[in-house]
């Protein structure tokens, strides 16, 4: 039990059971003071449960939760001093914006003058200063979420929990709010943020580190660059960004796939071992080049800036995201794809439990 100065969150073998089945399985994870940690995973992966364990809304069956070096496992939510923002905003409908923001300060019996000053400050910080006298129902979704963030920030928490905070907003607003959250973090550098999301873009954009969760367990944890450029498991590869995952056999100086030898950095993998080769679709090129693969064009999707080609290579589906083609090849045509050796990552047999044939999106 090392005591940390400053803040941060530490999960110590936290297990949560619900109706006899485990929704969070022995989570060990540390969020450093001032760090933004994204909990990324599909629904039912246990990421929200982990966040609720920090807030105090679920009681772990085993393990301890530490906030700022203090064991809070047995504390009720109102004594934890944690800010929380949820997808549904959860503003108090009968209170004006300013009273919503002041709620936490009044609950702490903060002196009146200070309450007013800090309420105004929090509203300024989120750009909602002009709306203090409005009721929540008079605001748009994005504005309501800003008020919810101001309300959580007004109590000056050391830890801010965000549970899918942007999921109820439309795409344009979402990217604006992402930039806003990043700015908030620059202005409040000592506040740790635990950000639950199923959206890889949000995680990649905002997080200092990403914890990838699946089926109640922590699968991987690292910086966005580490997880994106050199994923350690197939699940990480396919969930953090898109990925072509090709079953290969390691050979001397490369791998063999569908009867062809490909030049890739093999690392320490022993020749003859089965492994998975991860190639990002946007790093695949059309036409001959290094590591050329031949296949049949099965599908073409035009996405405006890019064309997504689905090509069947030796019985495997391979995706290529190409800069918009003037003249995409006809369906059923024989096409050549290639990728640079350095753009491929060999994933060992460690992560193969994620299974072959998953949808690579």
């Amino acid at each position: 039990m090392s005591d940390r100065t400053g803040s941060g969150v530490r999960f110590d073998g936290v297990t949560v059971d619900y109706d006899g089945h485990t929704v969070l399985d022995a989570l060990d994870l540390t969020v450093e003071p001032g760090e933004v940690m994204a909990l990324l995973g599909p629904s039912g992966s246990g990421k929200t449960t982990a966040l609720r364990a920090v807030a105090g809304f679920v009681r772990p069956a085993a393990g301890r939760v530490h906030v700022g070096g203090r064991d809070v496992t047995g504390l009720p939510p109102h004594r934890r001093g944690i800010g929380m923002v949820v997808q549904s905003y959860a503003l108090f409908p009968h209170l004006r914006v300013a009273d919503n923001v002041a709620f936490g300060l009044r609950a702490r019996r903060t002196p009146k003058a200070e309450t007013a000053a800090r309420t105004a400050e929090a509203l300024e910080l989120t750009g909602m200063g002009a709306y203090a006298r409005r009721h929540p129902r008079e605001l748009s979704g994005g504005q309501q979420q800003r008020v919810a963030i101001a309300r959580a920030l007004a109590i000056r928490p050391d830890v801010l929990l965000l549970d899918e905070p942007l999921s109820a907003l439309d795409a344009g607003l979402r990217s604006g709010m992402l930039a806003e959250l990043a700015r908030l973090h620059r202005e409040l550098p000592h506040m740790s943020m635990l950000y639950v999301t199923h959206d890889q873009v949000e995680a990649l954009t905002l997080a200092d580190r990403i914890a990838v969760m699946d089926r109640a367990r922590l699968r991987d944890c690292g910086t966005p660059q580490e997880l994106y450029r050199s994923p350690r498991t197939e699940f990480t590869a396919s969930f953090v960004g898109n990925a072509n995952l090709l079953p290969v056999t390691v050979t001397a100086g490369g791998v063999s796939f569908a009867g062809r030898t490909l030049k890739v950095p093999a690392g320490q993998a022993a020749p003859g071992a089965a492994a998975t080769l991860c190639v990002r679709p946007h790093l695949v090129g059309l036409g001959p080049g290094p590591n050329t693969l031949r296949g049949t064009l099965a599908e073409v999707q035009w996405r405006g800036a890019t064309h997504r080609l689905t090509v069947h290579v030796g019985g495997h589906r391979m995706l290529a995201d190409l800069r918009e083609l003037r003249e995409p090849p006809p369906l059923g045509a024989e096409v050549e794809l290639h990728f640079a050796p350095d753009d491929a990552v060999l994933i060992g047999a460690i992560g193969t439990e994620a299974g072959h044939g998953r949808d690579h999106r």
Binding site: S88, F92, F103, A107, R151
Partner: protein, 281 residues
């Protein structure tokens, strides 16, 4: 095919025959309700009846008893109902759903059943007094309040509380759990959460349930007759006494008219309140 027929019927313009369909309900209403009501009002207009009745102590006492019993029952039901609904909705305990469902059934019980039950518990030969006399050997037990206004009040609160609990449970099911969680993560203790988050959401339901109880307890007859038979007279039992026991029909009608005016006034208030509550959602 059925839908087409229905559409045809609906599409038919509203003509005179359609308006004729309004006649039977209006006729029935007039025959069984409006005409007797008019008779009651006419009977009450017998010369001198109003002055005689409104000036009598019996009437003034009954009016006072009626109003304070109704007000007391309403306040009691609101307090008890709010606490019960709060526990049922927000404190998960095994069987809370069964209890909530039982409240629905309770609404369909006749009012004298409660009175009978209270008689068995607190009556002169009831369980409570039986235990006392058994334990102390005294001739009489200490519980002798059933025939007083307090006994009527207890019975009315017992019987009418579910009428407050029901709308409150509906209102509480609309309260967003995320709001309660947000409040407590902001540092609010349970009492503050109830006061500042749950209470404002409950107000429309409390107003609606409270006005309903007020009107119903104002007109309650069975409970008063059963429980307070000896000492307690309210407007409805006064009507009964004047008409059936004394055959003083003009006086009975005057009391009835006052009672009707009181409850229609309150009903108008109740409608106003519940409409505002409905508009609030």
């Amino acid at each position: 095919m059925a839908a087409t027929t229905a559409d045809l019927v609906r599409a038919r313009p509203r003509t005179a025959p359609a308006r004729l369909w309004a006649l039977p309900p209006v006729a029935v209403l007039a025959l069984v309700f409006l005409y007797p009501l008019a008779l009651v009002v006419r009977e009450s207009l017998t010369p001198g009846a109003y002055a005689r009745v409104l000036g009598s102590h019996a009437f003034q006492d009954a009016l006072g008893t009626t109003v304070w019993l109704a007000a007391g029952a309403t306040v009691g039901c609101l307090v008890l109902g709010f606490v019960l609904a709060l526990i049922l909705a927000f404190v998960p305990f095994p069987g809370s759903r069964a209890v909530a469902r039982f409240i629905d059934v309770f609404l369909s019980f006749p009012s004298f059943l409660v009175t009978l039950a209270l008689l068995f518990v607190y009556g002169t030969v009831g369980i409570a007094n039986g235990l006392w006399t058994g334990a102390t050997g005294d001739g009489d037990g200490p519980f002798d309040f059933l025939t007083t206004p307090w006994g009527v009040l207890l019975a009315e609160i017992t019987y009418f509380t579910p009428f407050v609990v029901r709308p409150l449970l509906a209102a509480f099911s609309q309260v967003d759990t995320a709001q309660l969680e947000a409040a407590s993560s902001l540092g609010a203790k349970p009492a503050r959460v109830v006061r500042q988050v749950i209470w404002p959401e409950a107000l429309p339901a409390l107003a609606a349930g409270g006005s309903l109880v007020l009107v119903m307890s104002l007109n309650e007859f069975g409970i008063v007759l059963f429980t307070g038979a000896k000492g307690v007279t309210t407007l409805p039992t006064l009507v009964y006494g004047k008409a059936i026991l004394e055959s003083d029909y003009p006086a009975a009608c005057v009391v009835a008219v006052v009672n009707i005016a009181l409850s229609t006034g309150l009903y108008a208030l109740y409608r106003g309140v519940s409409r505002r509550a409905g508009a609030h959602r």
